[in-house]
Amino acid sequence: MSIATPTIGDHLDSRGTTSLDRRLFRRRRSVIPGFGITLGLTLTWLALIVLIPLGGLFLKTAELSPSEFWSIVTGTRALNAFKISFGLSLVAAIVNLFFGALVGWALVRYDFPGKRMVDALIDIPFALPTAVAGIALTTLFAENGWLGGLLAPLGIKVAFTPLGILIALIFIGLPFVVRTLQPVLEDLDSEIEEAAATLGANRWQTITRVIAPIVLPSLLTGFALAFARAVGEYGSVIFIAGNLPNVSEIAPLLIVIRLEEFKYADATAIAVVMLLASFIILFAINRLQRWSAARTGQA
């Protein structure tokens, strides 16, 4: 579809509806104008900026034979990069699941000084540019840094090791679990807990048997979002990672390296694997959100 072609919404009939409107709404018509043109522009813009560029990635991959593709994505360096990216993202998402649940619970259920400010701070990883986060975390966790200096005597090296990657991935995934859990906890009907208590459940039983099942889908949604974000993360990781091939080299960095070597096919093949993985995660997140909505009774 292109902007230049006359849009369907231009031809209004006597009842003020467009031909497309009529085709789509045999029963319910809308009196509000502009459906054809706004949907047309939306689809055009979406195609130009998102769909065609991403489609080009798959088209480029099609130039490779299946065996070439397979040998690129199962090469030692690529395979290790996938393991590092997906493995550490999983660990980071698990850490965020635990601490996110704790933080979300504290923010919704308890009162403490500075609560509103703490709540606002949660979004820092969304707002702070990744390169800034990257150099700040590296400085903080370097052997002469505030935290790295404390860990060094214990024999724990963080900066320029896989542990550093983990720290960066925890940082960028931190808000997701908190922000998906908060609204569900806030909307939780207090009568459910009171009923559980009246029926003789102790507090721990109420939390694990009554509250946990209700908030579980939202926790898993946050977990999946944090995982998805971590898998693709680049900016905050490359400064702290050390970027040693097969040890601390993440998959997005390997794409950049192959691109700088003008090995477009390699870069594209690795990117396609990453993109397919994000589609699968996105699908899972959609499912989880539906499940969450069904369980909490929201439309």
């Binding site: 998102v50 933080v103 949660i122 540019p129 505030w146 940082f171 794409i255 003008f262 959100q289």
Partner: protein, 292 residues
């Protein structure tokens, strides 16, 4: 960035809940343990990095800080960042309004698929968001030969940086507006139209005033991400100093040259932008809540 996390409108609504009652709370020891562990976690992962940025930026005093910011390459990076952000925010603002109008005010098949596709850039690695444009417009790309023949530069130039930024920030405005406009329904617009208002009049006099705070928040988020984008821009920019270096790329170059103080000086500007965005979010949330 924000991913599928509930947008402003939804969060504002959810934040009025009943206070804790004795039967719904835990022993004081447990409470303070949970609060303590939470604050320690947030302190280490959120507060310390932010403090580090400003401490390092001013580690040699105010004058060197200002010198680092007025360095010609830094000034060029700041100007390019502002230009790229202005273009991409304006385009995404227009798109967000148009998309939200068509999705929130009308019913049509495939709507949920369309919303998923608009959200898609959130789940794509920034590096891939840059790579796709190199594959299209780079020297070896689909249109590479044609562009070279006509002497048009997209990759390693401003258009490439704008395109990569556009893709990364694509969903921000739309996804703040869509849920709010869906919730507000179509009654006010229908009333306006039946009283004789034109489509544009209805939009500017009825719809826009209803969504102004959410729209402003979407623009702020979009702007923060546009100015701070690193991965996607790094792939398409070519790192030409004074020409195609945005602020995040300039930070990377300074840092890799061990000019730590200068790197943190430029970084402090972006950190400040992040703080302003967060404060604006809190304020705008209250406005949305008050108008409800």
């Amino acid at each position: 960035m924000a991913g599928a996390v509930a947008p402003l409108a939804r969060r504002a609504r959810a934040s009025q809940s009943a206070g804790p009652r004795a039967i719904r709370s835990e022993p004081a020891v447990v409470r303070w343990l949970v609060i303590g562990v939470s604050l320690a976690f947030l302190g280490i992962f959120l507060v310390l990095p932010l403090v580090t940025v400003f401490v390092q930026a001013f580690s040699r005093g105010v004058m060197p800080y200002l010198d680092a910011l007025t360095d010609p390459d830094a000034v060029a990076a700041i100007r390019l960042t502002l230009l790229v952000a202005a273009i991409s925010v304006a385009l995404n603002l227009a798109f967000g309004l148009v998309a939200a109008w068509s999705i929130a005010k009308f019913e049509f098949p495939g709507k949920s698929v369309l919303i998923t596709l608009i959200d898609l850039p959130f789940s794509v690695s920034p590096v891939i968001s840059g790579l796709v444009f190199v594959l299209l417009f780079g020297a070896q790309g689909f249109f590479g030969a044609w562009l070279q023949a006509h002497d048009i530069r997209i990759i390693f130039a401003l258009p490439g940086i704008v395109l990569a930024t556009l893709l990364v920030t694509f969903p921000f405005v739309a996804r703040e507006l869509i849920p709010l406009m869906q919730e507000q329904g179509t009654q006010e617009e229908e009333a306006a139209v039946s009283l004789g208002a034109s489509g544009l009049q209805t939009f500017f006099r009825v719809t826009l005033p209803n969504v102004k705070w959410a729209l402003l928040y979407g623009v702020l988020l979009c702007n923060a991400r546009a100015m701070g984008e690193f991965g996607a821009v790094a792939v398409v920019s070519g790192h030409i100093r004074g020409e195609t270096n945005t602020m995040p790329l300039h930070i990377e170059i300074l840092y890799n040259e061990y000019q730590f103080m200068a790197a943190f000086a430029v970084a402090s500007l972006l950190a400040l932008l992040a703080l302003v965005t967060l404060i604006a979010k809190v304020v705008l949330e209250r406005f949305v809540e008050a108008e409800r």
